[in-house]
Every structure is written in structure tokens, then in C-alpha cells.
Amino acid sequence: MAATQQTIAAVQETEKYKYGWQTEIESDLAPKGLSEDIVRFISAKKEDPEWMLEWRLKAYKMWLTQADQEPSWAKLDFPKIDYQDAYYYAAPKLGDAPESLDEVDPKLRETYDKLGIPLLEQEMLAGVAVDAVFDSVSVATTYKKKLNEMGVIFCSISEAIKEHPDLVKKYMGTVVPYSDNFFATLNSAVFTDGSFVYIPKGLRCPMELSTYFRINEKNTGQFERTLIIADEGSHVSYLEGCTAPQRDENQLHAAVVELIALDDAEIKYSTVQNWYPGDENGKGGIYNFVTKRAACRGKNSKVTWTQVETGSAITWKYPSCILQGDNSVGEFYSVAITNNHQQADTGTKMIHLGKNTRSKIIAKGISAGQSNSTYRGLVRIQPKADGARNFTQCDSLLIGNKCGAHTVPYIESRNPTALTEHEATTSKISDDQMFYCQQRGMNPEEAVSLIVNGFCKEVLQTLPMEFAVEAQKLVGISLEGSVG
């Protein structure tokens, strides 16, 4: 079966949270808690060069000074996180590092098969190259050889640190410095794996690149770091998917993603986030505190973020664009669905620095059950950004009468030639619409799924084909039980 169909089939089987199983595999765990020794332990496990260790330690020291200062401005309510009550490193015991895909532990292979992720290179036709991250370690990267021949580097960040230190040193931390915010600082100290992508000058990457993140181990945090560099005139589309087993306790996920687009380059970054959201009573689920930022460094560069956020107990995430190059473009398309007791505070920042920079924000929030969904966005136009343009549209849809939707836009314009537009709507699925769909034979869940998919259409249609189908199904699944 082709990988795409496999993925679709996997999603179709889904009832409630189908990714809630865990893999019985022996793990290599660091002792619980966070200390300088743990940072050194992780660094040693990753066989970091000296400069990397130093960077981690700088971040760790900084984090210590702010240890009680998690950002509290978001509209999120959760108990204090005990950072000493988690494991910061968990790796499946693999023996020696696998030389080829054939050597990847069959149990891991099975896990990714179950998730519908094609790890086998025979799946050429699928046209998707995958980097799979299991807890703290990247277990396999497909199509490596083929991509290498074209000059594309697609590997785990640990490997990039060893094999391409110049590129990593030149760019890592330049978009999200280790001192950026509480969670980014924590990530900088303890990040364990993630993906690295470099697209050479003038190349249009012929396949979608994809990372699949999976948290398996109990009480583990996942701290991955992804760095994507699109050199002049290049083009890449990158997909990210995430799942985790169903557990009663909350697990922390604090990732950092940095994108850099040079002159005339374009990066399209799509996420379908389906971390375990907790049960219907709000027990368990992932705490998702993620810093994602792109620098449109070159002239005419373009970055598009598309996210479909259906999972996690808590989502704190603002994929942003710094529009430095003249005529550069930043786009943010988002669907955030919350059900039961989920909370999402998500949005974007568009920072206009260059002339004639343009940004577009389309955010769709859907709240059901007793959940809360907040759009929080900043559009800042700096004095030199002559002719900058922004268009923002935030729509909220409520299902039932116990949920909340909130829109918090910040617009700061320091240039009189700039134009910003903001539109916002809040609506409910009406009983009349439901009745109309039911009168045509659809059951209530089908009706909600259809109406919500219509509401999100503008965003979903920006996703690559295979992801769009998955996302449409997820929309329906994540709202199951929201109508009585």
C-alpha cells in the first residue's frame, strides 16, 4: 500500500485517540530531574563537540536564574510543573547506531508502521522523506542517499552537529536565541534530537520532507530542536506530525523550531499536532510549549506556517516570522480545535522590518466541550518597513455553551505608509444548520465534522494533499462526543 493511503487508512480506523498505545521497548534513561550533571550526561550521550556543551551549559545557567518564572501571560490554567519530576533523556536501547534502515529495531519499525509512517525506502513512490524521532532520539532518516546526491542535507540535528558543525554553528540560535524565553532556554539546555534540513542554492526540493515525533516513555519530556535553512532561490515543503501514548500524568513537550530563508527562498512548514489531549475529564495529556520562528532573511523570501492543532492538554505556540528581507512574505494559517478540557493559546507574530514586506494571518479556532481556545497575535511594523501590509482574519466557532473563544490581537505600527487589516468573527453552529444536515441523513457527528471542515477550509487547503486528508478526518475525530 502506498504510504499516503496507509496514512489515510490508519486515520480512518481511528476511534477517539488511536495513538494511545505504547511500545514495550527497553530504554536508556537518564536519572530523573534536571541538573548540570544531567545536561552534561545528555551532551555526552549525544557525543556533542565542546562548543555545543558550552552552549547547553550557558542556557542551563540562564534557565536556573529564571526557574520560577514560566511565562504566565497566556490564558492557560495548569498546576505548577515540577521540572525535577521528569526524565530529560530517554532513548530506545539500540545497541550500536543503525548503519542502515534494515538495522533499525523491528519494534521501532512496528511502532512507526502502526502510525502509518513509511520508513522503508521501497516507499519511493510516496515521495515523502521521513525523519522519525522516538522520545529523545532520531531513529531513522529515509531517502538520505538520494537527497544527498542533490545536495540536500536531511538528518537528525545530533548528526548535523557532528557532520555539519559549520552550518549548525552559523545558524542555530540565530532565530531563537537560547535566552529567548523560559521554554526555549530549557530546550537549549536539554534538547535531545530533532531534524536538520539544508536546501542548497537554487534547488526546488522534489519531495516533501517530514518528521514524525513520538513520545513513548513514561514521565519523559520531549525537547526536540529543528533547524531548516533554505539557501538562495531554493524551495522546500516540510511536514511535521506528532503523537504520544495515553497516560494519566501530564508530559512536557518543549520544542524549538528555527527556519531561515535566504534571498528568493521559500519554506512551507506544515504541522498536524495530535499529541494526546487527556481524557474527557481533563486527566493526563501533553503540555505543549513550543517556540517556532522563521527569519525571512533574504529579499523576496517567503515562509508559510500551516498548523492544525487538535491534540495536547495545553498548547502554547506562536509560529512567527521576522520579515527582514525587502519584499519578504510571511503567512500563518492555523486551525486550533479544543474539546473536553483542552486549552490552547496560540497565534503568531509577524515582525515587519524590510520594505514592502507582507504578512497574512488566517486563524480558525474551534472550541467544544469545556475547552478554551485563544488566538493571540502580534503584528509589528518597524519604522523602516515602508509599504508593509498585513491582513489578519480570526474566526472562532463555538460548539455547545460551556466552552470559550478569545481573540487577543496586538497591532503596533511605527510606519505611516503601512497598512494593517484585522477581521474577527465569532459564531456558533446553529441548531438550524445541524437540523438541515441531519434532515439530509447525516448523523450529528458527521454534520459537525462537515460544518467545521467548511469553517476551516481556507486553512486546510493550504496543506499538502496527503496531510489535508488526514487533517480533515482529524477534525471530525477530535470533535467526537461534542454534540449530544
Binding site: S430, D431, D432, Q433, F435, Y436, C437, Q438, Q439, R440, G441, M442, N443, P444, E446, A447, L450, I451, N453, G454, F455, C456, K457, E458
Partner: protein, 252 residues
């Protein structure tokens, strides 16, 4: 056994009795028209048949081929063959008409134990029906009913009906807001669906529609009761005399 049997039906909305004992039997293949002044309970009858919330049956029963219709959810009634052409069709933003039609058709096919319809087969089927109803093909790409004119909305309702092939179709004031050309097209669409297995309940204020969709029986609904029943000539008489005579009956 009649296809639809309505016996001594009393219906209240927010505690107020609207239908006060309706008896109506509709056999397979028959077209019945319900006529009546505003506020007589015509639309209430269509909603209680299709299962809309907020309509409380305080007495009486409705059966479809002997099955208790009132025990069924609205979507189950639809899958069992009840179709309501809405007086005011709802807008579903972002959902292409074709997507909506396909979802509805597949819901019905699943209930019948059939596989979902193949994309090409579906497209050919819809295009054929659209041609008959003089609907331009770009309409199926537009979000359902969003920005549709009154005539387009009604044609879209008939399109859905012809695709879903219901056993029992209720047309709720389908003629309202239609000019004479549109009325003719819509009526032709309905007439094409008439057959020995399918029954219709045509609800209208005016006789005009019944010149095009000629009923087998006409019932006059006034004050929540059927005050007179007859053939199509009853509609013609009403057109000439109005409802005043029955209003007086009610008062008496």
C-alpha cells in the same frame, strides 16, 4: 397500510398548541397538498414530520410504512426516506455544494448497505440532474446556499431531492420567492420524480404552484385542524374565495 399515517396529531410549541388533532393518510404514489392561511400550522406539520427539535407531540401518532416515525431521530427519518424541501434553506459556509450532496448521498447509501459512491460516478450523476433542473454546473463548486438567489436555493433543494430519491417528500412553500420561470423548472423537477412508489406533501399558501404540481388531494388547514378535504378543484375554489369561509367556521 398507507405510506404515511397521521392519527389524531396534537403538537405544541413552547406550551402553545398549534396542531389540534390532524388525521391524514397518504398512500404510496399520491400527491397531497396542504393549503391554509398564515399561522395555521402548515410549517409545524412539516417540521414534526421531519423531526425538528422544539415541536412537542402531546397526543397522537405518525407512522411511516407502519414504523413509529416519532421514535426516530431526524437523521434516521431522512435515511428511512423522509425529505423536507426547506422554505428557507440553510447556508453552510465553506462546504462546496458537491461535498454536501456527496456526504448526504453516502449517508443514505451506508444505511442501505451500499459502498460509498465513486467520485466519477457521482459527478456524472449530479451533472445529469443539474442539467434537467437548468442549474449551471459551477453551482456545485460554490458553498451550499451561500450567496444563492432565492430561485437557486429552491433549485438546489429539488436537486438534493432528486439525488436522494426519498419515499416521502415534503415541499414547504417551495413556490415562495420564485418567479414564474423558476416555478416551472422546479415543478418540472418535482413532476419528474412522481411515481407509484413516491408520495408528496405539498405545502403552499397559493394555488399557483398546484397548476404545475397537480395534486391528487387537497386539504385545508385552518387553526391547527384540517377543515376540509377534496380534489384539486378545492384549490381552485380557494383561489377564488380565499380562506374567509373557513376562518368563520373556526370562530363558530
Amino acid at each position: 397500510m398507507a405510506l404515511i399515517e397521521i392519527s389524531n396529531l396534537h403538537v405544541s410549541v413552547e406550551g402553545k398548541e398549534i396542531l389540534k388533532g390532524i388525521d391524514l393518510f397518504i398512500n404510496a404514489g399520491e400527491v397531497h397538498a396542504i393549503m391554509g392561511p398564515n399561522g395555521s400550522g402548515k410549517s409545524t406539520l412539516s417540521y414534526v414530520l421531519s423531526g425538528r427539535e422544539g415541536y412537542e407531540v402531546t397526543q397522537g401518532s405518525i407512522s411511516l410504512s407502519g414504523e413509529d416515525l416519532l421514535a426516530m431521530e431526524p437523521d434516521a427519518r431522512a435515511r428511512a426516506g423522509i425529505f423536507l424541501a426547506f422554505q428557507y434553506p440553510l447556508e453552510i459556509p465553506g462546504v462546496a455544494t458537491s461535498t454536501f450532496l456527496k456526504t448526504a448521498l453516502n449517508a443514505k447509501r451506508r444505511a442501505q448497505g451500499l459502498d460509498e459512491i465513486d467520485a466519477m460516478e457521482f459527478l456524472n450523476l449530479v451533472k445529469g440532474k443539474m442539467k434537467e433542473l437548468e442549474i449551471s454546473t459551477d453551482m456545485i463548486k460554490r458553498p451550499l446556499n451561500v450567496g444563492f438567489s432565492g430561485g437557486e436555493k429552491k433549485r438546489a433543494e429539488v436537486l438534493q431531492m432528486s439525488l436522494l430519491e426519498p419515499q416521502f417528500a415534503i415541499l414547504d412553500e417551495t413556490d415562495s420567492g420564485l418567479d414564474i420561470d423558476a416555478l416551472k423548472v422546479v415543478s418540472d423537477g418535482v413532476n419528474a420524480l412522481r411515481g407509484p412508489e413516491r408520495s408528496f406533501l405539498v405545502i403552499t399558501h397559493y394555488q399557483r404552484l398546484l397548476n404545475y404540481i397537480v395534486p391528487d388531494f387537497v386539504h385545508v388547514l385552518v387553526g391547527g385542524r384540517i377543515v376540509e378535504s377534496g380534489g384539486k378543484e378545492l384549490a381552485e375554489m380557494l383561489e377564488a374565495e380565499g380562506y374567509a369561509r373557513f376562518e368563520n367556521t373556526k370562530a363558530a
